[in-house]
């Protein structure tokens, strides 16, 4: 028999099984992670060229989101502030701090700062910031608690099911128009009361503002 099957074939079934197990596990794990909507850069936290801390500026100083992201109410795009915006304060405050060297250089020379993009929707998604923030959807719904982040990271999955979760039931997320940029705001400290108030008021907003539950393709894709 040894003529037909060389010696190494003895170990073949074990090897095959091990191999199949390893590959199978990798595949399952891969599919588990990559093929689900959860995997959409959640946790992505690149190093930014300037160590800007939202936690300090928003959480401690109390700047409004719109001071820097001034286009968010007008455009589909929420802009990154110009160096000039930073210098409004920083020509007085920490004017020589080394962490701000790049900003000062940009303001003086016009050289742009290469911020790393974190939040991104695919090209075929025509997401519009202005219509969300003007109609009761807070920044926090998609971006998480940016006001507590030292270095911004991708807090939520930007998968289609994430968008649809809210689009199917906007009442659960709508909040008063003046609380959009208050990322810590809650209806009540007691979660049960808050949930109850969200339900009542959310439905009221839906009705009063004629908020539609947009689930057809043309809402986001063109």
């Amino acid at each position: 028999m040894s003529d037909i099957f060389p010696k190494w074939t003895n170990k073949l079934p074990v090897r095959l099984l091990t191999g199949a197990f390893v590959v199978g596990t990798a595949l399952t794990a891969g599919v588990w992670y990559y093929f689900t909507p959860k995997y959409t850069r959640v946790g992505y936290q690149p190093i930014q060229p300037v160590s800007f801390s939202h936690a300090v500026h928003v959480g401690q100083v109390g700047l409004d989101c719109r001071y820097c992201h001034s286009a968010v109410e007008k455009s589909w795009y929420s802009n990154i502030p110009t160096a000039g915006t930073c210098m409004n304060c920083h020509n007085q405050l920490l004017p020589t701090d080394t962490r701000l060297a790049l900003v000062r250089e940009s303001a003086q020379t016009g050289k742009t700062i290469p911020w790393v993009q974190i939040h991104k929707t695919p090209d075929y998604v025509y997401f519009n910031h202005s219509v969300h923030v003007n109609r009761g959807v807070s920044c926090v719904e998609c971006h998480g608690q940016i006001n507590q982040m030292d270095e911004v990271y991708h807090a939520k999955s930007f998968s289609m099911s994430f968008c649809l979760e809210c689009h199917r039931n906007p009442a659960e997320r709508l909040r008063p128009a003046d609380k959009i940029t208050d990322l810590n705001w809650k209806w009540d400290d007691d979660p049960k009361v808050a949930a109850q108030m969200q339900k009542v008021n959310g439905e009221k907003f839906m009705h009063d503002w004629k908020v539609e539950s947009l689930q057809t393709c043309s809402a986001c894709h063109r």
Partner: protein, 1072 residues
């Protein structure tokens, strides 16, 4: 459950109708072609690269992709903010600037859209006093010229690149040199322009260089109406036609809808007088006399076919008939001998004259630019005698022009009297009259400086070539047709350092101010004063209010008219041995200036529906007489004879195309093709008709001889099937029929069974009643003239790529809106109807049910939407679409090299092309890739934008309904006729709701119960019952229908039983 479509068998008796060139032979190939889902070749891969090669290469690339293991993680992308924000700029929000596009002698007022600094779309400026927001094909396509990778992008000296500074230094030296000798030997060759600044600089330079000479050349000169008016009325005036005031219009070889000056204004005014709200309104009546089949002829109620050279006789005959009663005896005496050859058309002309005389002061006679001054003098006499002057045609004073002609310049050149020739724009080396031998003449100037948009034929002969800036990159000014001053302002810095005409003029003239902005500002100061406020308003509005030229009273000088009439040279009669040749402005290429514009190359000619080239147009009779084999189908290809045409010792070769309705023994040659030196798009398209054109006979000549070569040539044409087969796709009636039965359109198709649900019910039917917005469209076929501006507007708005001639020949064109053109009646004298056809947005959409992947679905506002990411390209939807409006991306046309759009599946667009062409794309519309279906979306991006801005405005309130008629689709916005209305049908106040309530409103193929959101308003013709032609009883297409399915006007109407497929021809024949 389902309704069987009405069969349309050929009636045994009565008229035989003709469908296309093939009808003449009715070949089995044609039968097969007509029955196919896609035209032959469209759905097969039979390119040089075979399927086998494809798979081989693809497997290799898959392997490489696997080995590389690239794209495990999304790449790191950066955001680069401004360091200092430009004032008033919000990233992502488009900005609009009022500007205008200068055309020859006038301008089109525009509102240009800029997306983050790049102009992407132009619309008409609705605030301008003489605009309704409509534009023309050329304005819509002009954006693409801005991003043409083949445009002149460098300064050259003797063909090799030079520095801009050197070129400007050279101009400064020129200026010094001519200041010394007061411009001796300096010649300028210009194009026609209405720029106030140019005229001012011209004057300044003439004062400085008194010996400098000025010449103007336009290969297609639309100034003859002005010249004729100035001569016959004794002062320098320009006519302005108030077509909307005219109840009867007679166009004598005048294609005022398609190729005359400011045709977009003419269309608007004509359509205004053509529209009907209810049966008591009377639309205008259009008589056309012409040799070629033009857009004006297409829209005429009565059309007389005469060779272009014989038109003077018709004009004279019409003239003597009208002038006789008014007693202008010497004019009548002069006209009568001229009128003799038109005796054959006596009845037609007499009735037409009667109609004109019955509409004194409410009629208009027009002559076209191809006709000599004498015909224009007759026309002016007629309008004067009919009391139309001051009513339907007004005259405005314009500065007289004193420039010489190109023939005079050629003489100077040949006499070696030119030291420096400066050519602004134009392209004389290509389009100057052939007998001038311009190539040699230009070389005789010591130095030639050329400012041009392309490095073309003329550039090759010039010593210096300077790149011209696009109008969206330039400062300038112009006057529109009514004389209103409009601004030309830049939206972008010149992409390739281009310079403007006024800057170069100022530099050569050695003037103090050379910046174009300063020059224009200075000119404006001269008109509106020193203050800055009017200037700011001028730039903001795009025009200076109340600056239109005043109309002046004019007095007809019959002695001057007599002189012109006496100067008319008799022309020989065209026969098949001695053919008449007519040179005409092309509907897409103009005179050749748009030759390298892909959108226009691929725009089907509004009449022939041919793309990417020109052919020698002839009538069916002429083709038969000359013994040419009409057309041949081979392997799905459309093959036509290739011939040689000789005229006056010159010759050219080209394909022959049959044009129904063209005069016999006439050959129509479109200008603008066959360029020797052009970009990647224009290369190799068509033949060059200028080679037969002489200075003496620029527009028509008799005496050509045609020699068949026996070869054939493949033509790409988007509509070779000409008949509606008696089906009520376009519904039309004569005015009397319409008055008798205003809802004649109802029940022309087999009625859908009322008890049954539609075959494809709409999932959103339930929300329809309560929804805020339900989008719908209506198209008034009475207003649509078929000009095709909508097609280019759609292409520009929706990022529709061009596919190339080869692909169009296979039926793979991608236009989301097309204009279907049908003929009816006699092949030699057909009636024509046009119908814009686009996605009908059926509520019960057949395409949706058959998609296996849900890639085409409905939305809650009634749109039939395409989800490109889901589409896997089965094309079932297109198969099931009864309107054939779905388009499939057979290849990645956006990634193909411009000159190899069909070079097999792996051709890749070079970076230099891609980088600049992608700038023209609309960022709000997905650029589709290979393998997906696409179609009209009702401009969903505009709908969403309108809703979003209303919601943003509403904020925390319920005011979210988009204001009535506050936006529209690209096609509707571009339409100069106002034939397309789009809006919210859930809003009873909207214009579209109002249109849909009209009695002429109908649905195409309504027996299918697809419930389209797009409906049409039937066409109503207004023929003169006294005329001796066929169409006074009923329109051709209508009698074709009536013969097959019964006449709905005569009681059999609604239940005529088209569904039974039973021809009623026998029964109704007696009625008509």
């Amino acid at each position: 459950m389902k309704t069987i479509p009405p069969a349309c068998p050929e009636p045994d008796t009565g008229h035989k109708y003709w469908r296309s060139l093939d009808q003449l032979s009715d070949t089995p190939e044609f039968r097969q072609w007509a029955e196919r889902e896609f035209p032959s070749g469209a759905s097969e891969l039979n390119d040089p690269v075979t399927r086998r090669d494809f798979v081989k290469i693809m497997s290799a690339s898959f392997l490489l992709a696997g080995v590389g293991l690239t794209a495990c993680r999304k790449p790191e992308e950066h955001i680069y903010p401004f360091s200092k924000m430009p004032e008033g700029y919000v990233h992502g929000v488009p900005q609009y600037y009022a500007t205008s596009m200068p055309t020859r002698g006038t301008a089109i007022p525009l509102l240009a859209k800029s997306n983050d600094g790049r102009p992407t779309k132009v619309e008409g400026n609705t605030n301008h006093p003489d605009s309704n927001g409509g534009t023309d094909r050329f304005a819509q396509a002009s954006v693409l010229n801005l991003y043409d990778p083949d445009r002149a992008s460098r300064f050259t000296r003797a063909g090799s690149p030079a520095k801009q500074e050197d070129a400007l230094e050279f101009l400064a030296q020129l200026s010094k040199k001519f200041q010394g000798n007061s411009g001796d030997g300096l010649c300028f060759l210009l194009e026609r322009s209405s720029s106030v600044s140019r005229a001012r600089l011209q004057k300044l330079i003439s004062e400085k260089y008194s010996k400098a000479k000025w010449f103007i050349y336009e290969p297609v000169d639309l100034e003859i109406q002005r010249q004729a008016a100035s001569r016959t009325f004794g002062k320098s005036v320009s006519p302005y036609y108030r077509l909307d005031e005219a109840e009867v219009v007679v166009a004598l070889d005048c294609d005022f809808i398609g190729s005359e000056q400011d045709s977009y204004i003419n269309i608007r005014r004509f359509a205004k007088a053509r529209k009907l709200t209810n049966p008591s309104d009377t639309p205008n009546r259009l008589y056309a006399v012409e040799g070629l089949m033009t857009l004006t002829g297409v829209n005429a109620d009565h059309r007389l076919r005469v060779p272009t050279s014989a038109l003077a006789a018709v004009a004279a005959r019409l003239g003597s008939k009208i002038l006789e009663p008014s007693g202008s005896n010497d004019l009548v005496a002069a006209l009568q001998p001229l009128a003799e050859p038109a005796k054959a058309h006596e009845k037609w002309i007499a009735e037409c004259a009667k109609d004109l005389l019955a509409h004194k002061g409410k009629s208009l006679v027009l002559a076209g630019h191809r006709q000599p001054l004498a015909v224009h003098a007759i026309v002016n006499a007629l309008n004067n005698a009919l009391g139309n002057v001051g009513k339907t045609v007004v005259y405005r004073e314009v500065p007289a022009s004193s420039e010489g002609s190109i023939s005079e310049l050629a003489q100077l050149l040949n006499g070696n009297q030119v030291d420096t020739l400066v050519i602004f724009g134009g392209n004389p080396a290509y389009d100057a009259p052939a007998d001038l031998d311009w190539g040699k003449a230009q070389k005789k100037a010591k130095t030639t400086v050329r400012l041009g948009y392309y490095e073309d034929e003329t550039a090759a002969l010039s010593d210096w070539h300077l790149p011209l800036a696009h109008y969206l990159e330039s400062w300038g000014d112009a006057r529109t047709g009514d004389g209103t001053l409009v601004s030309v302002q830049p939206l972008i810095e010149p992409l390739f350092g281009g310079v403007t005409e006024i800057e170069i003029l100022a530099r050569i003239g050695g003037l103090e101010k050379t910046s174009p902005y300063e020059i224009v500002r200075e000119s404006f100061r001269g008109i509106a004063g020193e203050s800055d406020e009017p200037w700011k308003k001028f730039l903001h509005d795009g025009f200076l209010a109340n600056s239109a030229a005043q109309t002046v009273a004019v007095e007809f000088n019959s002695a001057a008219a007599l002189v012109e009439i006496a100067s008319l040279k008799p022309t020989a009669v065209a026969t098949k041995e001695s053919l008449e040749v007519v040179f005409h402005r092309d509907y897409s290429m103009d005179d050749g200036r748009f030759n390298n514009n892909g959108w226009l190359q691929e725009l089907p000619d509004p009449v022939t529906k041919m793309v990417w080239e020109n052919a020698m147009l002839m009538s069916i009779q002429t083709v038969k007489d000359l013994g040419l084999n009409v057309v041949d189908h081979e392997d799905g290809k459309l093959l036509v004879p290739w011939v040689k045409l000789q005229l006056g010792g010159r010759e050219l070769e080209g394909p022959v195309w049959i044009q129904p309705g063209q005069a016999d023994n006439t050959v129509g040659l479109a200008l603008g093709y066959g360029r020797k030196q052009t970009g990647r798009i224009g290369r190799g398209s068509g033949y060059d008709a200028y080679r037969l054109r002489t200075a003496a006979n620029p527009y028509f000549a008799v005496g050509a001889k045609l020699i068949p070569s026996g070869n054939t040539y493949e033509i790409a044409c988007t509509q070779n099937h000409w008949s509606m087969e008696g089906r009520p796709i376009i519904r039309e009636a004569n005015l009397e029929q319409y008055r008798k039965k205003p809802d004649f359109v109802k029940g022309m198709d087999a009625p859908p069974s009322p008890s049954e649900e539609p075959m494809y019910p709409n999932p959103f039917d339930k929300v329809k009643g309560s929804a805020l917005h339900q989008w719908g469209m209506a198209i008034d076929l009475n207003a649509c003239v078929g000009c095709s501006a909508c097609m280019v507007a759609c292409q520009s708005e929706n990022n529709i790529p061009i596919v190339g001639k080869n692909q169009v020949a296979k039926g793979r064109e991608l236009h989301w809106i097309r204009i279907d053109r049908y003929y009816s009646g006699k092949p030699n004298d057909p009636q024509v109807v046009n119908q814009p056809m686009l996605c009908q947005h059926c509520e019960a959409a057949p395409c949706e049910s058959v998609c296996p992947v849900n890639a085409t679905v409905h939305d809650n506002e009634g749109l039939n939407v395409m989800v490109y990411n889901r589409c896997v390209g089965t094309r079932y939807c297109s198969n099931n679409c009864p309107y054939k409006v779905r388009r499939f991306n057979y290849f990645d046309y956006n990634k193909r090299p411009l000159d190899k759009l069909y070079y097999g599946p792996f051709a890749k667009r070079p970076d230099d092309e891609l980088d600049i062409i992608k700038l023209v794309k609309n960022p709000d519309v997905t650029v589709r890739m290979r393998g997906v279906m696409e179609k009209c979306t009702f401009c969903v991006q505009r709908i969403e934008q309108a809703k979003i801005s209303q919601k943003v405005k509403a904020g925390a309130s319920g005011d979210v309904q988009v204001p009535t008629d506050s936006f529209t689709t690209a096609c509707a916005q571009a339409c100069p006729a106002g034939a397309i209305i789009f809006g919210n049908i859930a809003d009873p106040k909207s214009a579209v709701s109002e249109w849909k309530k009209r009695d002429r409103n109908y649905t195409v193929l309504d027996f299918l119960a697809t419930k389209p959101r797009l409906t049409y308003l039937a066409r109503v013709r207004n023929p003169n019952p006294a005329m001796p032609d066929e169409y006074t009883n009923m329109p051709g297409s209508f009698s074709e229908y009536a013969e097959k399915s019964g006449n709905p006007l005569e009681g059999h109407g609604s239940a005529h039983g088209a569904g039974e497929g039973h021809p009623h021809g026998e029964a109704e024949k007696g009625a008509h």
